[in-house]
């Protein structure tokens, strides 16, 4: 019969595992399968590593995060940490199943952590209500694994770059596998990133869907779609009418104002289809989200975490993509590293610049280019500060360069270093003129 295993957890809670608690999970930890790595040693050691030693970090306690926390806890991870900077909104309740109406307004990380700790005995979830950028390398170094369930591209790029930078070839434990999940409506993906070894998040930046941006002249002069009228209301009319008062897309009064203004413009131009819901969708850039897709992607992320932590089966190499609109379509493949990836590649990116391009034009290109997408880039060469977005004095000093030709500032074949305050890495460009 199974033994009762009593131990002290963090010195303040004492819990008992009950008979057959891990009956299901232990079936794959007590025996190897035909495809299991021959180095896998089934039995107590692997269970003890999973349940007593392994420390795992979850980034995000939202749609994916809630699912990830529950799946990890049931899989046997007992020391789980979670970071999230958001508070709970009513529109989260259709999928973020650890939250109830009474929790609206409270921090997601705290409420999720309390719920899991209460429901799954012996599991400790430690919340941090704040930004990932608030934590330093020492904090990230303490974990064996990191799972990201975020909807922000910027935050993922930061986390990815931080974990790549953490790798010290002399210290194998500094390599933290990163499992990243993402969803949008019926679609999603899960991937395993071994920093510096496999393709990283930055390597695949060009796979992201391009955001639809409406040209300002269309918005101002030739609107055709209801979206154009909404953009007109939020981008042009709001600042004109309200001056410095910031628009808050979570404030229903603000949305109502935008809706009324957009609707009036739409009527003027005989454009149909402006609704309150569309107005909110456009200004908040709302992405549809449902419980089921989040469940699928979170489960595959946690399944990979479980396989990596236990070696009970090979882990994903390295990308799982799911499309659920027509049947269940999925594609599992190895995404290749990009040799000139600014985070894990090291090689500089060759770019061709027309001789008559100004610095401002080059910056525009860097913001738009699919595989770069750096908002607010600062540019320098080994000898010159070309343009800096901050601090204000440096911005002012370098501003005149915006109108100068790149070819006047950088020699043929010269290198330009691109940095941004939001990203913990720099990109090096080698310029050739055409």
């Amino acid at each position: 019969m199974a033994t009762i295993d009593t131990y002290a957890d963090s010195g303040h809670v004492s819990v008992s595992d009950w008979d057959h608690r891990y009956y299901h999970v232990d079936q794959v930890l007590d025996r190897p399968g035909p495809r299991t790595d021959p180095d896998f040693i089934p039995g107590d050691a692997v269970k003890s590593f999973l349940r007593d030693q392994c420390k795992i970090l979850v980034i995000g306690a939202g749609g994916l995060g809630c699912e990830i926390l529950a799946d990890l806890a049931l899989s046997g991870f007992k020391d789980i940490h979670v970071i999230d900077m958001d508070t709970i909104d009513i529109s989260n309740l259709n999928r973020q199943f650890l939250f109830r109406p009474k929790d609206v307004g409270k921090p997601k990380a705290t409420v999720a952590a309390e719920y899991i700790t209460r429901r799954v005995p012996g599991v400790t979830v430690t919340p941090f209500y704040g930004k990932i950028q608030d934590k330093d390398d020492d904090f990230y170094m303490q974990f064996n694994l990191v799972i990201c369930g975020l909807d922000s591209v910027e935050a993922r790029r930061w986390m990815n770059a931080t974990l790549v930078n953490l790798v010290d070839p002399e210290r194998p434990e500094s390599l933290k596998p990163l499992i990243d999940g993402g969803t949008e409506g019926f679609k999603g993906q899960a991937r395993v990133i071994l920093p510096t070894i496999t393709s990283c998040y930055e390597c695949s930046l060009d796979m992201l869907n391009k955001q639809t941006a409406f040209p300002i002249c269309t918005i101002a002069n030739t609107p055709r779609l209801p979206e154009h009228c909404i953009e007109w209301a939020s981008v042009l009319e709001w600042p004109r009418v309200h001056g410095d008062k910031k628009m808050d897309t979570d404030d229903p009064d603000h949305i109502s104002w935008l809706y009324e203004v957009a609707l009036k413009r739409a009527k003027e131009f005989s454009i149909e289809g402006v609704t309150w819901s569309l107005t909110q969708g456009v200004v908040k850039n709302i992405i549809p989200a449902i419980a089921s897709t989040n469940a699928i992607i979170a489960a595959s992320c946690c399944n990979e975490a479980f396989k990596i932590a236990t070696s009970s089966a090979a882990y994903l190499n390295n990308y799982f993509m799911l499309i659920g609109t027509e049947g269940v379509y999925s594609y599992t493949f190895e995404h290749e590293r990009r040799p000139n990836c600014p985070v894990c590649g090291g090689e500089s990116v060759d770019i061709q610049v027309p001789k008559d391009w100004s610095v401002e034009r080059l910056i525009e290109m860097l913001v738009e280019k699919q595989d770069i997408q750096i908002k607010k880039p600062s540019l320098s060469t080994p000898t010159t500060n070309i343009y800096f977005q901050a601090p204000p004095q440096l911005e002012e000093a370098t501003r005149p360069n915006l109108e100068r030709l790149v070819s006047d500032l950088v020699p043929e074949g010269g290198e330009v270093t691109v940095t941004a305050t939001t990203l913990p890495f720099s990109l090096s460009l080698r310029i050739t003129y055409v």
């Binding site: 008979d19 079936q27 794959v28 699912e67 899960a190 309150w276 990979e304 269940v328």
Partner: protein, 529 residues
């Protein structure tokens, strides 16, 4: 009610700020709209166990707001259940009835959903109260013992209006599910393909408008804002006049056609002409009835009885319409965004809408009035006519009773079919070795050899199991035959709930066949039914 009236009601309600319920469901309403939500809210789901997989599926149905669910399960919660099921209260639930423990924890997720625990066994209900099953919309059976499953499947299959049955099997890292239904009609498939703009074969008013544009003499700013649709229709009209009424056919001719488009530019940066160049193929690609629709037309009974499903009547009228209109579907009336100024774009939109309205009148005249199809359904059908779908389903287990088809499937999709066979072999083994009531106590596990023998029995005598693929799948099942792994349960919980939602809302396209998933290698695949 006139179409104009419904529109004004729609726009009136759209001005109201969303209430709490709309706010709660906002992120999903953007996928299936109020109609889909209403279908969910009136549906009734039956789950035939409170296993970890079953409760994971139910969770993803309770959250988006189904009307009702019942869990039918007589089992008492074991230590194993308490360890892998998030919707049991850990050790506090041990010894208590599993269904009664799970229902309140699921209901807690959404107070708009009604849940019931029924602690009879499936066997008992089948024998004493079989009509019970007919009161549901979808029935979900996870790892239900084969003899009972076969009885239930036969009962539901014998009645065309019986609920869909989703059969889910899982063992360790491997799993599959299958949806049993007779026929499933989808008006809103949310297809990514757009309806034809009829550039190759313009309707009269489109041609008239295209010819009325005075490209040579118009104001230069207006010239840069003529919608590409009109440019292409015009250019093709001129081309045909000079080429005996024929569109460009060879590669060279198509290049020539594109060159004429380039020459029509008056300024190098006219983006509307760039769009026309990029879309030039639409001018010579003939608009045809989509092949899926042609198959559906061919399968329609002739004549159709008035009592046939409304969807059949809608299809038949569509078939007649295409026969009377040169193989064209009714114009959908939707114009994608394109480079144009407001005036020209809105005019084009009105042109397409007017044609859509005229086509709708012609279409309605072809629809059997005795079928009594509601007006809003007809409108929805016409908007989506190019992408409507009708799936022909099959009974659970049909594939396993057809050795030749299984052998073909094994030949074409060895690892997927081997996984399906391994799960079928486990079910057969469990029928011969009923499981002990308490998991982990006096348990017998199947050997890989036993499972291989049972899998081979489903195949023709001269067909062998592929060594590598069958070995991988069967070995994995022999390793963890009765494991309902939390991550596999959660994965299936998402997949199966998603397919149930598609069945209930009749939006998007559900799986038709065996959806097999291997979470050792992290892949999914679908085998034909």
């Amino acid at each position: 009610m006139a179409p104009g009236e419904s529109q004004s009601i729609e726009s009136a309600t759209a001005t109201i700020r969303p209430d709490n319920k709309t706010r709660r469901y906002d992120r999903q309403l953007r996928l299936w709209a109020a109609t889909g939500q209403a279908a969910l809210e009136s549906c009734r789901i039956l789950a035939l166990s409170a296993s970890a997989t079953s409760t994971s599926i139910l969770k993803n149905l309770v959250l988006p707001g189904i009307g009702h669910f019942t869990i039918l399960d007589p089992t008492v919660t074991s230590g194993a259940d308490a360890g892998n099921n998030f919707f049991l209260d850990g050790p506090n639930s041990i010894g208590k009835l599993r269904a009664s423990e799970a229902v309140p924890l699921l209901c807690e997720l959404n107070d708009g959903v009604e849940g019931r625990a029924d602690t009879r066994s499936v066997q008992e209900v089948l024998e004493q109260d079989p009509s019970f099953f007919l009161s549901f919309t979808v029935i979900i059976a996870h790892n239900l013992a084969s003899p009972v499953l076969n009885k239930l499947s036969a009962l539901l299959w014998s009645n065309e209006s019986a609920p869909a049955l989703i059969v889910v099997r899982s063992s360790g890292f491997l799993s599959e599910f299958f949806i049993q239904f007779h026929e499933h009609d989808i008006i809103e498939s949310h297809s990514e393909s757009a309806p034809s703009l009829r550039i190759d074969s313009p309707f009269q008013s489109l041609l008239d408008d295209a010819l009325a544009v005075d490209l040579a003499n118009m104001d230069i700013t207006d010239h840069g804002h003529v919608p590409f649709v009109l440019i292409l229709v015009r250019a093709m009209h001129d081309w045909k006049k000079e080429h005996g009424g024929n569109p460009p056919k060879t590669y060279e001719e198509k290049q020539d056609f594109k060159d004429t488009l380039g020459l029509m530019k008056r300024k190098p940066d006219e983006e509307n002409f760039d769009e026309a160049l990029a879309q030039a193929y639409r001018a010579w690609t003939p608009t045809a009835v989509p092949s899926d629709l042609i198959k559906l037309f061919a399968a329609l009974p002739d004549p159709l009885s008035s009592s046939a499903p409304p969807f059949s009547h809608l299809l038949l009228a569509l078939k007649k319409f295409t026969e009377q209109h040169d193989g064209h579907l009714p114009v959908a009336g939707k114009v994608p965004d394109m480079k144009a100024d407001t005036k020209q774009y809105v005019a084009l939109q009105r042109l397409y809408r007017a044609q859509a309205a005229a086509d709708a009148v012609a279409y309605r005249a072809l629809l059997d009035p005795a079928a009594c199809v509601p007006d809003d359904v007809v409108d929805l059908f016409l908007k989506n006519a190019h992408a409507v779908r009708r799936l022909q389903g099959a009974q659970w287990g049909t594939l396993d009773r057809d050795p030749t088809k299984l052998a073909e499937s094994l030949d074409m999709f060895p690892k997927e079919t081997a996984t399906h066979l391994a799960l079928a072999a486990l079910a057969a083994w469990q029928t011969m070795h009923p499981q002990p009531p308490e998991p982990g106590v006096n348990e017998v596990r199947p050997s890989a050899e036993e499972l291989s023998g049972l899998a081979a029995r489903l195949l023709p005598a001269d067909v062998e199991l592929p060594e590598k693929e069958a070995g991988d799948a069967i070995g994995e099942i022999a390793r963890a035959p009765s494991a309902d792994l939390p991550n596999v349960a959660a994965f299936l919980g998402g997949l199966v709930a998603q397919e149930a939602i598609k069945m209930i809302t009749k939006q998007y396209v559900p799986v038709n066949g065996y959806c097999v998933a291997d979470l050792v290698e992290t892949w999914t695949s679908t085998l034909a039914p």
